[in-house]
Symmetry: C3
Subunit: 333 residues, 3 copies
């Protein structure tokens, strides 16, 4: 495996095979599988789960990793082309990334959206530029528009809970959050659920529609898998018979680069906090999913997060397990 940058790069069967491998490695540990192997971890944005789970995954397979992150004094990394570097940044990604990649056998890269331009972010230009500078296999640890490790963990979580793929109803719901968050998780999630063959509904208030490029990619995946993708702002309609609600806040795509307009719009939407009444017409065992971190009392009520519907901890635990499978496939001779 030369890259794990996007679930869409893999046929459906390959996803199944990765999930089987993850289960096998949990059942039958292989603590020497990757001895002497190194994973480079480059974080241009903060992390908790990704940081911890990738390091743990490498140790469990007998290898190791190192972390380069923005909290370290790495002089600042410049990324513009043709620039005269007489300011603060003392190093350019054109040197930093190939070097960091060269010390490992694979490299994980986290680079959130720059939010200067929606088209650039939808095309994932920043991540693509960084990945192209590494001549080692790359793993997308969350980019402007993708988060395949989270999606693979979520897929595994639904399999374990026996949530049906064909016929399973998956609601991706916008939720309130005081900040305008990136599109990576909603974009990856709607595609993943569609690729899994589910009946996917995107529930969001006006102004928070997912971009056409995101919806089109999900619809193409649904077509191939026998799934379905629709969108609505009507909560009752969306939740009807739902097996899962996956909550996530994201930016207004109508005001993507205009924080003030986004703010004005979202301030009216504090009622979008998932709580028990949302589940009125869902299936009785309807699950609550979220990629974490989650703001209690803002995105979701405590009683949901602490109750039997919530599978958020399991999703996070599965991050390590699916990443072990990806690393094993990528690095085991």
């Amino acid at each position: 495996m030369l890259a794990f940058n996007d679930l869409a790069d893999f046929p459906h069967a390959e996803i199944g095979s990765l999930l089987k491998l993850a289960a096998r490695l949990e059942r039958e540990p292989e603590p020497r599988a990757l001895e002497g192997k190194v994973l480079s971890l480059l974080f241009l944005n903060p992390s908790l789960r990704t940081l911890a789970s990738f390091q743990a995954a490498m140790v469990r397979l007998g290898g190791g990793s190192f972390v380069i992150s923005p909290e370290m004094s790495i002089h600042g990394l410049e990324s513009r082309s043709g620039i005269v570097m007489d300011g603060v940044a003392a190093e350019h990604i054109r040197e930093a990334v190939p070097v960091i990649a060269s010390y490992g056998d694979a490299i994980g890269i986290r680079a959130f959206a720059e939010r200067l331009n929606l088209d650039d972010d939808l095309a994932d230009r920043r991540f693509a530029e960084l990945a192209a500078l590494a001549d080692k296999p790359t793993i997308n640890m969350e980019s402007a528009i993708n988060h395949p490790c989270q999606s693979l963990a979520d897929w595994k979580t639904m399999d374990e809970l026996a949530i049906p793929s064909t016929g399973g109803r998956f609601v991706l719901s916008w939720a309130y959050h005081p900040k305008a968050l990136p599109l990576a998780v909603p974009a990856a999630t709607v595609h993943m659920a569609a690729m899994r063959g589910m009946d996917v509904v995107v529930l969001r208030p006006p102004g928070f529609e997912l971009p056409d490029a995101v919806m089109d990619k999900a619809r193409a995946a649904a077509e191939a898998s026998g799934g379905r993708v629709s969108e609505t702002e009507d909560r009752r309609e969306a939740m009807e018979g739902a097996h899962v609600i996956y909550a996530k806040s994201w930016s207004s795509t109508r005001h993507y680069t205009d924080r003030l307009a986004d703010q004005a719009l979202r301030e009216e939407l504090t009622g979008w906090c998932v709580d028990e009444p949302w589940f009125d017409n869902a299936r009785e065992d309807c699950r609550f999913m979220h990629c974490l971190p989650v703001r209690r009392g803002v995105v979701v009520a405590d009683r949901i997060l602490d109750g039997p519907r919530s599978v958020v901890i399991r999703e996070a635990q599965n991050r390590m397990l699916v990443q072990m499978a990806v690393l094993y496939r990528m690095l085991k001779g």
Copy 2:
């Protein structure tokens, strides 16, 4: 071993067995004992020795670890119940701790006193709350009122130096420090020395008495071990025939939550800097112990720290060795 949170949880013989194991692992390394095993390290407060020694310990046993610490941008961790998280903190300990714990086979947790309320700190409520959220074996890497890894290292240090347990005189002395420091080390230390069966004297100025709960716990340990615990503000009386003086600064327990009152009291006490005259009526080979970091010229004079009495480096070195024994006992199948 399901937890290493408090020396008091272990019978005397089990401490001896851990110390024997530490010595054996130093003599006969087992660099594959914990292959594929992961230790999660959660630091809610800064660290040097603990951070380094736990990471080194895991490597020496063939496993590995990862660190989550407050210096990283982990969004800030909220710990209050029922809170609406619309402020800075983007994640709650109720999600963060179970997830971090799930990536490891055991979890070390450091969480100093919050100093909002002496009773809460004496009951170690913050640490207990964090530990309860992890469904893996826990290690106390210093809590509001305990520091069992330091105590076990100190015990080993005294054994190596052939400082008698029965009949050995151990003076825990308050020392000056510009800041009001936590009670964890003095509380753990007085208990450890009492449990070791020593003749323990707590030497402290008025206003810096250790809380009843701390003294009672130490006295109970002394009773079981044949030791003795007393307290005084008279230096000559305390040091009479002493084998060891263990210096440490701590907060005024009379003004535990009132920094200004504490400050006013301690400002008069800059003379509590351990120096050669303190040893006048101690045993000639009386040792100087301290958990580090230590402020030279403030807590203790250079000539003591650099002279033959000091065993502070050895105490710190023993941190890694005893932690290897704890980890081995906890994680080796």
Copy 3:
């Protein structure tokens, strides 16, 4: 090997043997060679390549490492003697360094010049003081006046490119940079190239002469190896028939502790940015070297860095490989 602090400590043949070992370990990995071994990494200054490459090197040999760095809250480290520590720093290097060293089997130390006094920096007093506190083998990860790991990597890079030792012309050129940078890399580099037996020319504007101590050490190495060392401010003269130009900015040694005077001097020198015209009378295949990080458009033009002359990525990659050889020689029983 008890220390790797200075290339000058090793006979020429030993350098050759280390480079052979580096090549062998790349060709035939030994992922269990250092199992259970720990490298302590103490960074008193920032790092990217060194931080990453040492961690990766230990994993590739089956061991591990831990990092203590200034970005962590390590309370601040005091280094003055006889000081009363009632300020910010809560720990002295006299305790911190022996403890950190004790957790590892070797210790890497990075400590840049303090720039209080040129003689102290030329004598590398700060590094020597730190290294003397560790009773484990030490590795110089860049000190006030040395950077032997970089030099060894550069030597390997030139060997791989078949750049002649005897008769190879090596130009170490000052370059513009907005800040007054340390002397470590130029000092180490001129010595390394001289020790390799090359015809070394130091090209620098008036005011940026390398100190006599640096030039004398290089000349002594040249004498032993059959090389030659000269200096000039005439670019054409320097570049005549050059095999390599190694660019690096450094402080004015005429104004070493006077930043304003240095600034005034260097402001006139923005033309010292390596570009294609510099190579007019060099060998056609003349290479461009730099230790990184490098400021594009300031120290060197993009077209050089992105063109076929540049070997800067290879130099950085070789850091890990030569450090593996050093660690292997130092730690393998």
